[in-house]
Each structure stands twice: as structure tokens, then as C-alpha cells.
Symmetry: C2
Subunit: 157 residues, 2 copies
DNA sequence: CTGGTAACGATATAAAATACGGTTTATAAT
DNA sequence: ATTATAAACCGTATTTTATATCGTTACCAG
């Protein structure tokens, strides 16, 4: 993500997607929500709620925790943002709208979060649940380690 | 778990396992650690750190948060207990000692947590990581939903 | 333009976890 | 046995993460 990645395009896409999705559903994509979604998309790392709060404060506002958490709850309800449970942090969803199951590759070094959608992994999860006669409502799949870029870097050293 | 499950045996086994494992490794399974492990094993639900703290207080002691967290950290380091990230709660490991990857089925109704070790799921996780050239250090796989017993119960109703 | 609902703001508090410093206790080395 | 050392423990304070509650404002539907 560090090199040759036009991240501005990511942000624009995320905002455009959000606008489209909220319009379709009749939910309100307010200024605050747009602002917070944009902040989350500043990079591909997961962002802490209180960091968002600090950023809001720096921009002159005097936001309180509930303001941020309400916006995050909205964005999560709309599938625009995911919570990374193992970090207590929040990351933008790169393909909102599609019904999808989220699995994350989280680099412990560069901290980038990649959302993957692997059919094989989905199938395995489903199979494991079926074997146990378990009816899945939600799932948290978070793989922590080193991303491709950081592995290469380590090998180079 | 509710019916015909001799849970006392689970507790005894967990404590015996812990004793054996700590003895093997030369780590100290102190009274406090034994007590907290036993509390965690009172049932198959995940337990909150502050509930343990309250229990300790009820038993006459005057424990502070660090006491509980230190014990939990020890138990986790030894692989005797796992943290459920999506609940901020802790659950006993049913087969400590084996090197293993933990995956959890968490019932949203009865709150029981079942730890599963599915080769197919392991393989799928590994494959997904390999495909992304990602080097896994740790993983969090938590499936939330309804367990077998609670599904049957719903269907009966 | 008015009545209801959703969004926002502010205060307070709850819940989860850690930093740090001092004391005790177990174990290993003498 | 005695002492050095490291681990465990304890308590205070604080940080981090999140929610409850209540009053106000803004949207939009009838």
C-alpha cells in the first residue's frame, strides 16, 4: 500500500459507494458520517475511536465520544465499516453493498488491514459450523501476522 | 451442556491439566491462579475479568483489577485460557498442552462457548493466508450464532 | 406549517485494561 | 541453613474503550 497506490481514489470510491448505498436505502449520509468515513479511509489501517475523536477536536469541533460511536454504529450497520475485534479499531469496507462475510489479514508491522473474501475459507467455516449443528449469525475471522510487503522487507534485511 | 453433563469432571480435569502442564514447564501454578482458573471453569461460558474480580471480592478478598489480569495473562501464556475478542471475555481451554489453533462457536442465546479444532478450517485459513502471501502469527476465529441445543429448542417452540 | 422521527450535542458514568512502585515469597546457589 | 534473585503479589492511580441518558435541533411526510 505504501508505494504506487493512488489512495485518493480509494477514499473517493468509499464515499461514492456510501452515498449510493445510503441513497438506495433511504438512510441519511450526513456530513458528520461522511467526515468520519473519510477519516477512517485516510489509509488502510484500522483506526481507533478516540483517534477519530482527537482528529475531530483538532478540526475545531468539540466532539464527545457518543458522537463518534454513533457515527461508527451507523457506518457498521450500513456495512461501510467493520470493527476489528482484536484491535478495538475500525476499518473501511472496500466492497460495501455486496452481502459478504468479512475476513481480515492484519499486518502487525505496517498495520495495514486487508479484507479478503475467500470462497474456500467461507466453505470451511460453513462446514465446521454444520458439523457442529451450529447456526452462524456473525463471524469474526482475523488473521494477524506479516503482510506480503513486510515479509519481503524482512527477507531483504 | 445444561443436561447430563458432569461439569465437576471438567473443572477437575482443567485443574489437573494445568498442574501437569505447569509442572512440566517449571511455571508456578499458584493458589490465586488455581482459584481463577476454577472460577473460569464454573461453566462453559466466557467470563468477564470484572466478574472474576467481583467473585474474588465476594469470597472475602479485596482483589484489584491487576490481580485478575495478571492471572489471566499467565493462564493465557500457558495456553490454559483463551480470550474471546468479540466478547472481551475469557474461557477455559479444553485441551491445553497440545499445540493448537483455536476456533470458537459462541452461542448468542445460552452463551456457551465451544472450542473446535477443524483440520479443514485450519487448512482453509492457511490456504487463504498463503494465497495472499501472508505469514500468520495468530488468529482469531469466532463464530457467533445458535448452538445445537438452542437451535433444537427454537424449532420445538 | 406542523408533528414525528432521526440525528446531534453534552454530561456523566460504566467497563476493560494497564502503568508503576513497593512488598512478599519461592527457589536456587552458596 | 542462609542469602541472593527472580517471580508473584498488592495497591494506587490512570488510561482506554464504550454506553446511558436527556435535552435540542434538523429533516421530511402528511
Amino acid at each position: 500500500m505504501a508505494h504506487k497506490h493512488d489512495h485518493g481514489a480509494c477514499i473517493d470510491k468509499a464515499v461514492a459507494d456510501a452515498e449510493r448505498i445510503c441513497a438506495e436505502r433511504g438512510s441519511r449520509f450526513t456530513e458528520l458520517r461522511r467526515l468520519i468515513l473519510t477519516m477512517i479511509w485516510q489509509n488502510h489501517k484500522a483506526v481507533k475511536a478516540y483517534d477519530l475523536l482527537d482528529q475531530l477536536a483538532n478540526e475545531g469541533g468539540s466532539a464527545k465520544p457518543p458522537t463518534v460511536y454513533r457515527a461508527l454504529d451507523f457506518l457498521m450497520d450500513e456495512g461501510l465499516v467493520h470493527k476489528i475485534e482484536s484491535l478495538n479499531a475500525y476499518v473501511g469496507c472496500p466492497h460495501p453493498g455486496d452481502q459478504h462475510i468479512s475476513q481480515f489479514l492484519i499486518c502487525d508491522k505496517c498495520e495495514n488491514v486487508e479484507e479478503v473474501a475467500t470462497d474456500a475459507l467461507d466453505a470451511a467455516v460453513t462446514a465446521a459450523a454444520e458439523e457442529a449443528t451450529f447456526k452462524i449469525h456473525r463471524q469474526t475471522v482475523e488473521l494477524r501476522g506479516l503482510c506480503k510487503a513486510c515479509v519481503s522487507e524482512e527477507q531483504a534485511a
